[in-house]
């Protein structure tokens, strides 16, 4: 299947990613050739094979649980330290709802 620039724009929109016209042209070419290779996946028989989402190893069923004890959180000051814009204890973003 041939990838079009409409496809690229649609996916960029889903990914919240601004691409220049030049980048879109390049993506059509690059993603096209990569997806062409990925299409070979249809050539292998996976009938009855369960999908593998994670590496599994022998463990107790409760191995991923930890005791429910309090831990100090990161805290407001540290959490905001790397924010590009913050104020009065919050992350600041452009206005979302017009009055």
């Amino acid at each position: 299947m041939k990838l079009t620039d409409q496809d690229v724009r649609y996916v960029a929109n889903l990914a919240n990613l601004h691409l220049s016209e030049e980048e879109i042209a390049r993506m059509v070419h690059d993603l096209g050739s990569i997806l062409e290779h990925m299409d070979r996946l249809s050539g292998i028989d996976t009938e009855g094979v369960a999908p593998m989402a994670q590496v599994l190893y022998e463990a107790e069923e409760t191995a991923t649980l930890r005791p429910d004890v309090e831990r100090a959180p990161l805290g407001n000051t540290l959490a905001l330290e790397n924010a590009p814009v913050s104020g009065v204890g919050y992350f600041k973003v452009p206005k979302v709802i017009e009055r």
């Binding site: 919240n16 690059d30 993603l31 990569i34 094979v49 593998m52 991923t64 330290e81």
Partner: protein, 475 residues
């Protein structure tokens, strides 16, 4: 600067030939003067390093055991969080990010007396096989300065090869420690998935990511892994299994060990790399190993499955970089939606954008079953291939990369060709088994080549024993 091993440093400290502080000062000064040749380090962290060294010296003065990595200069890939020390992932989007906490692996390295010397360059967000995708310039291979060091942990491999660190931490998702180790002529170890906590490793593809050590010899790599390994309540995928003493029992005795050579790997292997691998296999036979051909039939589908899965996971993991909580925010932002798009458009480099796009595409409506679900099933088949093979062999031996270090710029314009070169390393990554690269010689041009050793889940001890026996016989 003397070429130290972990054992040399332990002995030197014990005999009071030098203090940890003296050694750290020397290491910082040497790294500072040598770094311009390779661009391996993005920054050095002298304050933290000297504080850790002073701590080691105090422990020694008080008669306490200073730990298995006492005074050892450690370079850390810049995707691993270090409290108070800038961590960029070699990306513009995190150019000024200063983490408020340490990765668990970093805490354990320092608790064992290790000295964090600085942060190393890499491909942006660990995405690449040449270190040319760094926003802060490529790394040069110390063995041949016109060539790439491999990637994505190119800076960590170069630092060890250049002797500006004794050991280094990298991260391996599909070969990012083994391949640069092979290109730079050092040892690189990817442990079993879940062996080392990922807490504080910036996520690329969570089901495949590992923190992984690099060193100049097998014993040092084993020691670093042992320090980092073990359960961590902060990473629920970390295995709650006892950590063996990896550096013990490296006695050179591998007589009777059964090794498998995958026919699917060797049929494509050509040139000097293939010759060196075949020579390594003869060496292993000479040590008393029994080598037989094995088949891993799903191999031809591994690159496709890997790049579906890792980009799918990356596209969701990297959604967090949106200019709100940390990192860069675009100045050109009217609405919230524009701010997200422009921040990501301006902050990410070309390879990261390509992978976010691919991952978003394969997860999008109408394509999920054909790509993502199918790739997960192929992943199960690749894992089954290994499980079957390990019923008849103790370890698998293979190349790490189809070719040695290539020239800077040589493959940068063909992403698919770059992806295909990961074929020998991504299979082990998909299965989550331990695998490593150990140097097995050099081409006529003097370019190092690594031999890959793969073992079954949690069989690092066996892997290290074979690797060390091989290393011993080739020195």
């Amino acid at each position: 600067m003397k070429t130290h091993t972990v054992a040399d440093i332990r002995e030197g400290l014990h005999k009071k030939l030098f203090s940890a502080t003296e050694l750290t000062r020397e290491a910082l000064s040497y790294a500072g003067s040598e770094n311009p040749k390779t661009n391996a380090y993005l920054l050095l962290s002298p304050e933290r390093a000297l504080a850790a060294a002073a701590n080691v010296d105090r422990r020694i003065a008080a008669g306490h055991d200073p730990g298995p990595l006492a005074g050892v200069p450690v370079a850390v890939k810049d995707v691993i969080l270090t409290k108070g020390i800038r961590t960029t992932c070699a990306s513009r989007i995190l150019e000024n990010y200063v983490p408020p906490y340490d990765a668990t692996a970093i805490e354990r390295i320092e608790a064992a007396g290790g000295i964090i010397l600085g942060k190393t360059n890499c491909d942006e967000f660990a995405m690449g096989s040449s270190n040319e995708n760094s926003a802060f310039g490529p790394v040069r291979n110390p063995v041949a300065l016109d060539r790439v060091p491999g990637g994505s942990s190119g800076g960590s491999a170069a630092a060890v090869a250049q002797n500006t660190a004794v050991v280094a931490l990298g991260s391996d998702t599909g070969g990012s420690v083994r391949q640069p180790a092979s290109f730079c002529g050092v040892v690189g170890v990817t442990p079993t998935y879940g062996r080392v906590s990922r807490y504080g490793l910036v996520a690329f593809a969570s089901s495949l990511d590992h923190i992984a050590p690099l060193a100049r010899n097998v014993r040092d790599a084993a020691t670093v892994l042992e320090v980092m390994a073990g359960h961590d309540p902060l990473d629920s995928t970390s295995a709650d299994a006892p950590v063996p003493n990896y550096a013990a029992h490296l006695d050179g005795n591998v007589r009777g060990m059964k090794l498998g050579l995958p026919v699917e790997y060797m049929k494509h292997a050509t040139g000097e790399t293939a010759d060196l691998i075949r020579k390594a296999i003869e060496t292993l036979r000479g040590l008393g190993c029994e080598v037989r051909d094995i088949s891993l039939p799903a191999t031809d589908y591994a690159v496709a499955a890997y790049y579906v899965i890792c980009t799918a996971e990356a596209s969701s993991n990297l959604a967090r970089f949106d200019g709100v909580r940390y990192g860069f925010r675009s100045a050109a932002s009217g609405t919230l939606s524009d701010m997200y798009r422009n921040t990501r458009g301006e902050g990410f480099g070309p390879e990261v954008k390509r992978r976010i796009m691919l991952g978003t595409y394969v997860l999008s409506h109408g394509y999920y079953d054909a790509y993502y679900l199918k790739a997960q099933k192929v992943r199960a088949l690749i894992t089954r291939d290994f499980t079957n093979a390990f019923q008849s062999v103790d370890a698998i031996v293979a190349p790490v990369s189809p070719f040695p270090a290539f020239r800077l710029g040589e493959k940068v314009n063909d992403p698919m060709e770059m992806y295909l070169s990961d074929i020998y390393t991504i299979t082990g990554s998909l299965a989550g088994i331990p695998c490593m690269s150990v140097p097995c010689g050099a081409t006529r041009d003097g370019l190092p080549v690594g031999l890959q050793i793969l073992c079954n889940h949690f069989e690092e001890q066996k892997m290290f024993r074979l690797a060390e026996a091989f290393e011993r016989s080739t020195q």
